[in-house]
Each structure stands twice: as structure tokens, then as C-alpha cells.
Amino acid sequence: MWYFVSPQIVFGEGAICALDELQGCRALIVTDRTLVELGLVGQVKDRLERAGFEVRIFDSVEPDPDVQTVLKGAEVARAFEPDWIVAVGGGSPIDAAKAIWVLYERPELHPAEINPITPLGLRCKARMVAIPTTSGTGSEATMGIVLTDREERRKMGLGNREAVPDIAIVDPCMAAGMSPQLTADTGLDALAHAIEGYTCAWHTDFADGLCFNAARLIFRYLPAAVANGADLEARERMHNAATCAGLGFSNALTSIAHSMGHALGAVFHLPHGRAVGICLPYTIEFAAHQAPERFAELAALLGFSQAGGEEGARALAGAVRELCRRIGNPTSIAETGLSRADYEAHLDKLVDDAFNDTSMMSAVRSPSYEEFRQLFLYAYEGKPVDF
């Protein structure tokens, strides 16, 4: 027994017009200041006001939002009493908006109490729209909420099926202004969602197709979207791919690359997509040694190798590395500029955090503590995994 949960997805150029049809009185936009300055939030606000909404903007969401931010946002929500929470942004604003929504409806909860097992009873006060402005996180279609515990320098993987937004507006025009680096980093995040969603132990028949198609689109269109941000076809296909991948992995799970990426992001503030993009091939190679089947199957479907088994799985890892190189992203942690001394000084914490990250629940090959340490070292050095 399992579930498949999805928002209503409005997609394609002009999808933002779906806001014109929203019914309600008050909308709280949750976003960040950069998106306000870029004018993207203004477009959303204007449409909501034309649709008859009183609108308030909470634009204090920082990259990798923490508990304090969502507590502040929830206070704003409780004072304003919106009937719609409208998230505009990448993963940080959308995840923060989900947490704010939960705390608005359930003020007695602490954000860390949001878990996939305990029912939340949402939608008594508000519903949620998510409008992604990056093509990567997929948060507009997922149950996940990633918040950062700054005291412990740890990312908390929270979530609940009820926290899947009601509506996702996937309009490529909202992501058309991304820089090449942001396009590359977020695109690799989407690729990691697609590959881990397809290959993790919790994969399902319902999510497989989404994950495969997302991976296919990303391998095909990410280089073009990075090379030429004005390539609207590449932008649109990447935007769709990110949501497909989000929907896919949210109904399965991510795996070891995400657990390593969360640890690296919390300790060294590496952009999430860059971190998981680096780690992904190493984790594929690690899994390939004992459980290569799903990776090899995906490699075959994507046309990288018909060899099957470990050889096929390794071909998938190679294709990910090649994609990273084509878009100018690092293929090892050393290439990000982190010093080895600094890295090794934090290695125990990285392993501890990754070891008990929620993404580890669905690893097809579960590393021991020592193997995890080795994985982090191999990923630092850029050495293909041979154990």
C-alpha cells in the first residue's frame, strides 16, 4: 500500500494566468527580497489584486531557511488570516511557505514536529499555490520541507503528504531570468531527484515514468538552458522536467546523494544542486557494486548503455559526470575550492549528519559508517568508487 499525491499542475507559457481564477479574499505571498526586486513578485501581486485579493508579502525568506524565519512568517499569517498561501521562488521560499502554512493552521506545533506520519489537518484556514522561479527543486509538487537548524548546522528533512501544494503554476517565464550557474545547479538537483526517485528502494510504478522522463529531458535540455538562457524551448522543458522529477521523487524518495548533499550544504553552504550533482555519480557507483539493476535499467532507457549490471550502472554515473562537465559544474568537492584540511576537519560531522538523514531510508545499498566516510573522501578527490 502506498500513495500518489499531486497538486493540480498548470504549466506552460502563460500559466501564471491561473491566478486570475483563484477564489478567495486574502493571499499571503511568501518569497525572498531578490524576487521582489526582480519584479516577479509584483507580477503575482498584481494578478491577485486584480482577482480581488487583499495581498500581503512576506519576503524575509533566506537561502536555506531556518526555523526562526518560518516562525516569523507564521506570525504574519496569523495576523493577516489569509485563505491562500502563495509561494513564489525556488526551494527555499516554497519550503518556507509550506512550513508557514502548517504553523498557521497548527500554531501549537514546532516546525521540527512536521513529519510524514502524524496527520496535520491542513486546509481548515488556507490552501496553497506554489510558483517556482527555478527549474530544480520540484518543491511545488512535493511533500518535502527542508529547513536548516543553524545551531546544529544541520538540514532537517521534514514533510507530510498534506503539505503538497493545492496548485503548482509551472510557467517557464517565471524562471527565464536564471543565471547560467543557477540554471546548472538547480538542473542538477532535478536530475538527482529523477535518478534517485527511479532507483531508490521506495520507487513505484506511478513515479517511475515521471522520473525517467525528467531525466531524459534534463540530459537533453540542461546544456542548452545553461548555454543560452534565451532558449525558451530549453527553459520550458527544464521547467517541466523539474516538476516531473519533484512529483516523481516525492512519491518515492531520494537517496544517498541527497543525504550527502544536505550535510555538505548545511556545513559548507554549498548550493544544494551543486552538492548533490557532485555526489550523485559516486553514490551510483557505490550502489552499482551490489544493487545495479535499476541504475542499469535507467542507463539503458536513456540510451547510455545496454550492458546491464554494474557496467550499465557505471555508464549512468559516467553520463552524470559528463553532463556536469558540459555545463561547467564541478565533478569533485575539491573542485569547489574547499580546502582538504577544512573538509577533513568536518568529516565526522558530515558522516554523522548524512548517516541519519531521512533520505537514507530508501538507499538500495546502505553504507556503513566507514563506507560513508570513504564516499565523502572519494567525492572530495574525484575518485570513482571501487568498493
Binding site: 500500500m1 514536529e113 513529519n115 506520519i117 521506495w202 541519519n356 537514507m360 531510508m361 546502505s366 556503513s368
Partner: protein, 136 residues
């Protein structure tokens, strides 16, 4: 030798397996919190059984079959029909997925459990190492 599930011998053997597991010790090195596993009757098993498992900092401190849920205090109570427990022990039902689909019902601080998913996985891995004789 196979151990009947549920029984005092079975839960004690699980404790032995946990105490021999380096992976569990690492994954649960900060864990503090005892469990009572309640095995509820279903068509495959007509009785109710209560299994206590004491867990502290990566080791099992105690394990016993109880006569009732109130015989010992535990921070967490995990409750499921016999057949669902069997599926967990045989690796057919992931315990976290089981909790998410209410096939296993948990009482206790979920926030704490969700911080130790690897430990949960290792407990199940140790369950698989216990030679188990199931009813019918």
C-alpha cells in the same frame, strides 16, 4: 535454532543481534528511548503480546516479553497486527513506510524517531538475522 515470534527468546535474541551490530551502534549512538512492541491478534495469530526493548546509546540494555503494556514504562509504543509485524521482520514492509501508511501505529515523539531513520533500518536488518519461526 529458530525463535518463535513473539516470545521472550525472540526479543532477547534481537537484543543480542543489536548489541553485535556496529552499524546499529553507529546509527543510534545518541539514541535514548525504550520501545514496547504490541503484537495485536489477527487471522494468523489469536493473541496479544507485548515485547519490551530497552535502547540506549547504540546498545540494547534490556529485552523481555511483558504480560501487559503497563508492566514497564517505555517512551515509544509501536502497535500492529501480527501479520504486519511479520512483514516488517521479513523485510517486506519498511517500518517507516509502515508508519506512514498506519500499518504500524506509533505512540511517542515522532520528531525524535524521524531523526534516526538509519537506526530504524538497522533494527530491521537485525530482525532479519534472528532465525524466526512464525505462527501458521
Amino acid at each position: 535454532m529458530a525463535f518463535k515470534f513473539p516470545s521472550d527468546e525472540w526479543i532477547k535474541e534481537l537484543a543480542n543481534q543489536l548489541n553485535a551490530s556496529e552499524a546499529y551502534e553507529k546509527a543510534a549512538k545518541d539514541w535514548e528511548g525504550d520501545f514496547i512492541f504490541v503484537v495485536e491478534p489477527d487471522e494468523a495469530y489469536p493473541h496479544t503480546a507485548y515485547l519490551f526493548l530497552g535502547l540506549y546509546h547504540g546498545k540494547s540494555t534490556d529485552a523481555a516479553l511483558l504480560s501487559s503494556e503497563n508492566e514497564r514504562e517505555a517512551e515509544f509504543i509501536l502497535r500492529a497486527p501480527y501479520s504486519n509485524w511479520r512483514n516488517v521482520i521479513e523485510g517486506k514492509l519498511d517500518p517507516i513506510q509502515g508508519m506512514m501508511t498506519r500499518k504500524l501505529q506509533v505512540k511517542g515523539n515522532m520528531m525524535k524517531i524521524m531523526r534516526y531513520p538509519k537506526a530504524a533500518k538497522e533494527i530491521v536488518a537485525c530482525c532479519a538475522l534472528v532465525p524466526t519461526e512464525f505462527a501458521a
